[in-house]
Symmetry: D2
Subunit: 258 residues, 4 copies
């Protein structure tokens, strides 16, 4: 059997040098921010000033969402394994699946696939109508539209689109996302504004980041938030209280039913 | 039983507002970089310009270390569960335990505890000698000194200390780390320069970040690197090749021994 | 908002009693084997003698598959976090996704959905032809057929079917699986025997275990195997050797290309 | 650099054979129960009839503990990533750390180390007094004694010890555990009966299973319980309700404090 060579373009080192994505790490330390370094890791080059602002804006939006199922799971895990902060963060990340991280992915994919199928000159309104019609057939909610809490609009969306525009990165992905929102509103006869997930999904396209990596952006950002939750949990623990409440309610139910 | 109130100072929201650490998220998006946002999450306030440079320098240093056990584990996990990018990243993070993430924690703890025990006016040379003596008794290698590959010095260390100094953040933690290196060199009669782990451990002290969070800084940074590894693995897979080599060598050994 | 009551039928306790699935745990300890207890957990009742033999046979088949990607990932994780055996096992389980655990699920689903759609009196040969035709259209390999290594047949399959038969549990799921194999062989003009995954997928149907739980059977069994791998790794470590080989080959590639 | 050979004694295969721990897997399928197979994996040989009863009794005791932090974390993870049953189970296992799985480990270690240090002829009462004195000095609770809920005694303990006795496996580890309980009762002037963790820790010693594997027994057993929790969660979801309660209480706290 022929052997495939093992190689990676991300990082390697010699006795006196550490290279990341072709840059000497020592040259980057002190000059590159964490967000720009993440861009470098994913894209193989440092961002322009404009790309930096927009990419960091997207990442920042994804760090902290309060007491999510992920954050609660991380805290409960830390309760049982306080020696393994990394395991608590990992447990929290495991819940960033199809329901959460997946929704960014789907919004980005919908836009990227529609634009790729249509070609450079495709009429965006036609594409928007096509997307809405496809979702209507499957009876699935359209990825990136509406929000259970933030009504009538998700305040992050106009801010994210404004930043993209100010930095010359408001292009066809954002335009298509907005048209899908308008068309969906007409088709379903209710307001279906673009939510933060939809805005981020669109901006990933403007940054030429493939939709497959969309969930990864959420995962790397949320890892930061989960570390903060564990730090807070270490100081002011909630896990035992949550456990006690759930356990005693469930046990009482069974005792009564005997 | 009295109920403890569930609360978190990290994030919460209303219909028209999302608040993170007391800031309206919409005010931060576009103005705050990912690294500064991480600082806010951990410390409850935005960094000064100087703290920002130093904190980002530390975080950037921890993102990418090439083909580590963590990166290989993440790639093997992705091979089996390509539908769960988050699970592959989580698997990689799970290896950031006592051997890797733990070493930063230990370096930071050694310094913070020594300085706390000694008080404001403690003589740093005395503290350094005490630390070295304690390690000598337990026959453990001193956290933060020496490196198997980067010889004679770890190139990241002088750079990190330079940045700390340029930003007014070279204080007693860094000084103590350097004295420990000198004293250890004398005690063990060989060069034991401060490595990147030791430099970061010391700088965490200068940033007033408790050692318990040290591993968390490594975890949040490495999550970024692991997403990049999965992106690369998706395009140029190595996992099957690694698996085949390991599996066939192990099986051959058994077949021959029959 | 109305509150939904939190309850679970699995386990609960009082000061002097622990109840699992309606049984006093103390009555089960010493009388029930681990495999039968797993059956109880999943089905809500203890197995008959025949079901016990067949269920344990299925579970046993899934415990140990040698140096799989999962086992290697678990060992690499243990190397970095030897204080967290549970994290190493968890890392290994995370790779039991669509490629591995998922294939049992798919085989079981194919059979259960075909039989459900056809009704009690459906002709099995018609169903088998329908399944093969559906797969041919999507150009996907049929779940549960063929094996890259075990040729011409997977030795586990005849043994598993024999045990099912001896215990009165060879019914329409197994029959349909075998007909699919024959029809697929005709359609693709090569031998496509039922592999262990297909045999297990069929037997789950005979045991009336829904396909959605199929991956869970693999996960619970493999957890045992992974604990054994970590025990072996603790005594005779391989992780460092695997890491060194992969890392040095990848770094050499980069050094040469400079 | 010399290469270390990669090998494993657990499992390997050829085209027509699968070997686990030296046995042809096909010979084991249908004859060996899941619990006995786990014993084989860990010990390298099948259990005697007596060992089988005792080992299965221990494993069964560890499968299901109701709505533990682990079970809740697994359910919350499944809510976010329903496509990854394995990730939900893994998240649950990650909480089996020092607080839960670790306590079995510590009980087993205390006994095994005391007996090893004392030699074959050591007086058990002396050893028990030594153990209690050591714990008193560190002001830590003695591993394996007392229980917050099951009072005055943990009903699993007498049952487990009875089974060990009936099967000729009540030896010096169990005797020492019982003496520690008596001595501790005297030293602390309150009843400190052996709990299930202590009973299991002692029996592991009787089965000649090293304490380092103690946490692994808990992990493999609990993996079964967690699959059952995910199956129940899929049918009767609780995660959203738990999330909503925690999130709304935490958010309300913040809103009021503005």
């Amino acid at each position: 059997m022929t052997r495939k060579r093992l190689k990676s373009d991300l990082g390697w080192s010699t006795t006196d040098r550490i290279v990341v994505r072709g840059h000497d790490l020592v040259d980057l330390i002190g000059r590159t921010s964490l967000g720009d370094f993440a861009f470098l890791e994913l894209k193989g080059r440092l961002p322009t000033k404009q790309e930096s602002v927009v990419f960091n804006a997207v990442a920042v939006t994804l760090v902290e969402h309060g007491m999510t199922p992920s954050a609660i799971a991380a805290r409960l895990t830390y309760f049982g394994a306080p020696e393994s902060l990394q395991a608590a963060v990992a447990a929290g990340l495991l819940g960033m699946g199809s329901r959460f991280g997946g929704s960014i992915e789907e919004a980005a994919r919908t836009l990227q696939e529609a634009l790729a199928s249509g070609g450079q000159d495709a009429d965006l309104l036609d594409l928007a109508r096509g997307v809405v019609a496809t979702y209507q057939k499957t009876k699935q909610p359209i990825a990136g539209l509406g929000h259970p809490i933030h009504k009538p609009i998700d305040p992050r969306t106009p801010r994210l689109f404004q930043i993209a525009e100010e930095n010359g990165l408001k292009g066809r992905h954002i335009e298509l996302m907005q048209l899908i929102s308008e068309e969906a509103g007409r088709a379903y006869r209710r307001e279906l504004p673009v939510n933060a997930t939809g805005a981020i999904g669109a901006i990933l396209g403007e940054l030429d980041i493939p939709w497959q990596v969309g969930r990864g952006i959420a995962v790397m950002a949320r890892a930061i938030g989960l570390v903060a939750h564990i730090q807070e949990e270490a100081g002011e623990p909630l896990a035992a209280e949550i456990w006690n409440r759930v356990e005693s309610e469930a046990s009482e139910h069974n005792r009564r039913n005997e």
